[in-house]
């Protein structure tokens, strides 16, 4: 089976709320695809539709060309972690994995393997109700890995993880992708995906905003702007504006300049005898790039009066 997820024009509405509105994207093998959007953008709904849990009003979602519901041993094809707390609190971690393994005829020894893989081997006999959110996330990841599937989907896997856990999961997902698996990771915080995702599917209000590689996105957001720190901010702005640049204030003694290359800016400032302490290519963070992309589609914006 080809390790891909293909989402084609899915629509989903719950009552009067449109959750997903004509979304299409593709998740490729060997890459970590970040699935980003603000809360309520439709990420979880999309994932549920891919897993055959919710049925779309229109469109289709297939895994390796097949509908999820047609898979006979789905845990071998797709691993998913939707909600880490969706476990019975009275069941031991090991037994939780045991019933999942039984349902797809997965041998028992695999349970020990995945528990070791996620670092839960020591607490396998404890009841899941006593687990921290981080431990639950690890248990959920263990469940997703049970069938050693080529396609993996994780919904907000870093929620509740401590920095060490986040560091672990980054490396872990990268290594899974390195095996040639297709990995879809959702997050509402673009920062979490930094240094992990290869591609990004950005959605807002159920619609696709961007489907791009991380590198392209960062380049586009940086937009050849130059960062400048100077004590004589207003004079510098006048000089640069006269030379045809667009200047934006970013701090008390800092501006970003677009429309002029860095060398030209240095020459202009030197000619005008204006001092500066720092100049360089502006590097947008993923966060910044994301804010720019989703500015129009933020649904729950706390700062804005509605």
């Amino acid at each position: 089976m080809e390790a891909t997820i293909d989402v084609q024009g899915i629509h989903k509405r719950y009552g009067r709320t449109v959750a997903v509105d004509g979304l299409s994207f593709r998740v490729e093998p060997g890459l970590v695809t970040g699935f980003v959007g603000p809360n309520g953008a439709g990420k979880s709904t999309t994932m549920r539709i891919v897993l055959g849990l919710d049925s779309p009003d229109a469109g289709s979602a297939v895994i390796g060309g097949k509908r999820y519901a047609s898979l006979r041993t789905p845990l071998r094809e797709v691993g998913a972690l939707l909600d880490a707390s969706a476990i019975h609190p009275g069941r031991r971690a090991r037994d939780h994995l045991l019933w999942m393994a039984h349902s797809n005829g997965i041998p028992r020894r695999r349970i020990t393997e995945v528990l070791e893989l996620v670092g839960l081997a020591q607490v396998a006999k404890r009841r899941a109700g006593g687990f921290s959110l981080g431990m639950k996330q690890r248990l959920g990841i263990a469940g997703a890995l049970l069938g050693d599937p080529p396609v993996l989907m994780f919904d907000e896997p870093m929620n509740g993880l401590d920095p060490e856990g986040i560091h672990w999961i980054r490396g872990f997902l990268r290594s899974l992708a390195g095996d040639g698996r297709a990995i879809l990771v959702s997050s509402h915080l673009m920062g979490e995906l930094q240094d992990m995702a290869d591609r990004l599917v950005v959605i807002g209000r159920g619609r696709l905003i961007a489907d791009t590689s991380v590198r392209e996105l960062l380049a586009a957001a940086s937009d050849n702007r130059v960062f400048l720190r100077t004590g004589s901010r207003s004079e510098a702005m006048t000089v640069l504006a006269n030379a045809g640049a667009t200047v934006a204030i970013t701090d008390r003694d800092a501006v970003t300049v677009s429309g002029l290359p860095a060398e030209r800016i240095v020459a202009l400032l030197t000619d005008a005898r204006l001092p500066f302490s720092e100049i360089g290519q502006h590097r947008a963070s993923l966060e910044e790039a994301y804010m720019e992309l989703t500015r129009e589609s933020v649904e729950f914006n706390a700062g804005e009066p509605s």
């Binding site: 789905p74 707390s85 609190p89 019933w99 005829g105």
Partner: protein, 490 residues
Amino acid sequence: MTYQSTIQGVRGGFGQLLRAEWTKFWSVRSTVLCLLAAIGLSILLSMFLTFNSTDANEGPHYVDQFGFVYQPLAGDGSVVAHVQSQRDSHQWAKAGVIIKQSLQSGTPYAAVMVTPGHGVRFEATFNTQYTGTAAGGPRWLKLTRSGTSVTGFESGDGVTWTPVGTVTIAGLAPTAQVGLFVSSPPNYVVEKHFAGNDQHEVPTNGEATFDNVSVRPAVPTTLPAAPGPPVRWSFADILDTNRFPGGLAPGGFTETDGAFVVSGNGDIAGSESVSSLEAPTGDDIVKASLAGIQIGLIAFVALGVLYASSEYRTGLIRTTFTASPRRGRVLAAKAAVLGSVVLVAGLIASFGAFLAIQPKLHEKGYEPPAYPYLSLTNETVLRAVAGTALFLTLLALLSLGLGFVLRRSARAITLVLALVLVPQLAGDLIPSIEAAKWMVRLTPVAGLEIQQSRLRFDTAIGPWAGLAVLCGYAAVALLAALWMLRRRDA
């Protein structure tokens, strides 16, 4: 580039699904505790639930009241009569010939008789009974005495006689009273009031016409035929003031050209045999010994509901359907696992409750002869006790179905308990027997009728028909669950 799973040889069959659901069942401590609580509750509550004691065994264990047309018979001899007709006043009305120690109620007797509902019978001393021809209708009857031995015969033509039975009556007086008798037990009418019943007896009047009546001493006396008038027939109302303290309308007889029309009421019977002692409000002690199940079932209902609804509460249902996308099979596997577990637990609970409570029942006066000891080898008892486990199984499946349909534990448990408990409570309260019966017939509580061991005035439906009603409810709930599961987002 594409990765391939290293897990080989997996199959996604129904067997795997059963294994998965069974693992889910035993691996949660509260489920196992709930199951044990269900068994324990059923047994313990059966033991401690108080129900009325009975005084059915106090006083004489017989009834002896009838209309008697008699004359003395000295020594051995026989009495013959042809029952021309008998009024169908009661299925246990009796008409025939009798030999009796004296005119005192309760003294030893032997009689051969016809009944409208139970054919020809030969009965004696309140504890012996033989059955003859099943057919009713006109019949020749004969009793012969030889010492203390009495034999009853019947015949279709008065020529060829068939013995029905023989008894030995120790201490039968040398001169006993012989003749014709007629009895007819009262009918019972139960009136239902708010939270209670009243039972009335309505007397029935038995009547039969006899002809060809003769009494022949065995030894034609060596003395010359006694001169003087032949022995005359007399009539007596034999009254049983213990059983019928109020007395009943007296009987009587007329004789016209050798045809005797005799009337009377009451019954001649021991309490083991019978009919008129078996009041319709008598306790169903098989049902009573399983009373704890009616509380214990709450735990079984909770078990069934939670097996479905807890997956919704925790969100586990999504993991379940991710692992097994064919939802109908998940429902089937859950039903199979739950059904099997509850069947076994139900058998433990019902047999345990039944066996635990028997000594307690005996203490309360439920003893032979009015209440014979119950044995599990008795087909009715076995059906009631084992059937209770089937009732619990079907109830758990109904709960499972509603758990899936409603997805909320509290709602589903409340609904099932309302369906099972409300009809019982309301049935006790509403002052109409028919309405109370329909309450039972139309609700899942009909399934509890599998426990019935005797017909009572308030018996609503047969045992298996009752179970079938519950079966219908369970099937509808499971089909609704299936339809919802397929149609609804998980």
